[in-house]
């Protein structure tokens, strides 16, 4: 865990201990990145954030705030935030801690299989959960 937390700046992390801003909607949480890092206007940043949610197949979560989301929706919002960072590596840190309401290897696989998704998503998980991933791979 310490090793994951200490990953360098070129890694976008999706982790339980990196929550969304609770008083902002999912869309605003994602739009913050282009707004602050790339100095786009509000409308363009919001458009980019909406596009990422569309690509992940969950546009319905855009207006929801953190407390109003299910764990799976919260995970999608965090993943979208990590994707919009456009860093070379994307690490999903212990997905079981965030996705306790869905069979998570399949859920992540479905998200990764969306047309517009590219790059490699690395998953850091406990070794005793390896079977879950094997089952998901074999069920393909």
């Amino acid at each position: 865990m310490t090793a994951v937390a200490a990953l360098s700046d070129d890694v976008a992390r999706v982790a339980l201990e990196l929550p969304l801003r609770a008083n902002l909607s999912a869309l605003d949480n994602i739009a913050l990145i282009p707004l602050y890092q790339r100095h786009y206007g509000v409308s363009e940043s919001t458009r980019q954030a909406g596009a990422i949610l569309d690509q992940l197949g969950h546009p319905e979560i855009a207006p929801l705030r953190d407390p109003d989301m299910t764990p799976a929706q919260r995970f999608v919002a965090k993943l979208a935030r990590a994707l919009i960072l456009k860093r070379p590596r994307l690490v999903i840190d212990r997905p079981g801690a965030m996705l306790y309401d869905v069979p998570y290897p399949e859920f992540i696989q479905q998200l990764a299989a969306q047309d517009a998704m590219s790059g490699i998503w690395e998953i850091f998980d406990f070794s005793w959960n390896r079977d879950l991933y094997n089952q998901a791979l074999h069920s393909e």
Partner: protein, 264 residues
């Protein structure tokens, strides 16, 4: 002997604690001031948070605040007028009203009002952000919390307190005129002469600086108190309690220093 040593030790620890808090607050203020002058700080998102802060702090409560300041002003003006009449000092009533109400009491009460409403909310929000790791998450995304969360709140707080105190002062002036001279315009000249005598550049500048310092106190101190919160949820109420006590002492200290500079 042991009791004396323990007392000195405890006093020393308290003094060291106060010094640390004071140092951290001024270090934070210095960092914020430097960023305030940095052009890259000011983008759409920062302006948006400033606007929101002004809206939540000043606009949303405008009707309640105006009602509260008018009632207080009316009471104080009535007391001053009746006392002035009793002592045959009616000629000084308008000057007394302006000095007591507009220069001292209304800015002080405005600061207390904003501290109770917005300062406590800011303290709680920052403490919860600290406990829930939201600040770490923002830092991971390279969204600097100072520019996005803290600086706009401080700027918004200063703007709100200055505007609300100004508005309360103007409404008190109007109320004072109506209470002293009624709806007639006969008293316009002596009243404006009194105003001109009191509101010289030094007094107006001092009033503005005092209101700005009040605005800074009701936002800066809650933010730094929130940031000091250990990452334990049960420490949030303790953080708010400490923060609000510090805000109260800061407001009183600013008022006392302002009075001392003006009248001693």
């Amino acid at each position: 002997m042991h009791f004396l040593a323990a007392s000195i030790e405890s006093l020393g620890a308290k003094l060291a604690g106060w010094f640390t808090v004071g140092y951290d607050t001024f270090a934070f203020l210095t960092r914020a001031s430097l960023l305030l002058l940095d052009r890259t700080t000011w983008n759409h998102a920062t302006f948006d948070v400033v606007m929101k802060q002004v809206y939540f702090t000043a606009v949303q409560i405008l009707h309640i605040f105006l009602g509260y300041s008018l009632v207080i002003s009316w009471l104080i003006i009535s007391i001053i007028l009746s006392t002035a009449r009793d002592f045959g000092l009616t000629a000084f009533a308008s000057e007394m009203t302006i000095r007591v109400l507009v220069l001292e009491l209304l800015p002080f009460l405005t600061a207390l009002f904003i501290a109770l409403r917005s300062g406590s909310a800011i303290n709680t929000e920052v403490a919860l952000m600290q406990v829930n790791n939201e600040l770490d998450a923002l830092a991971h995304c390279k969204v600097p919390p100072m520019q996005f969360e803290f600086l706009p709140r401080m700027v918004g707080g200063v703007i709100s307190v200055v505007l609300l105190a100004g508005l309360a002062g103007l409404s008190a002036l109007l109320l004072a005129y109506l209470s002293i001279y009624g709806a007639s315009i006969a008293g316009f000249e002596p009243f404006t002469q009194t105003m001109a005598k009191i509101f010289d550049f030094r007094i107006v500048a001092g009033l503005l600086v005092k209101c700005a310092l009040f605005g800074l106190a009701v936002t800066l101190i809650p933010i730094t108190a929130g940031l000091e919160t250990p990452k334990k949820l049960f420490m949030v109420p303790v953080s708010v309690l400490r923060g609000m006590m510090r805000v109260f002492f800061a407001i009183v200290a600013i008022e006392v220093v302002s009075l001392a500079l003006k009248y001693i």
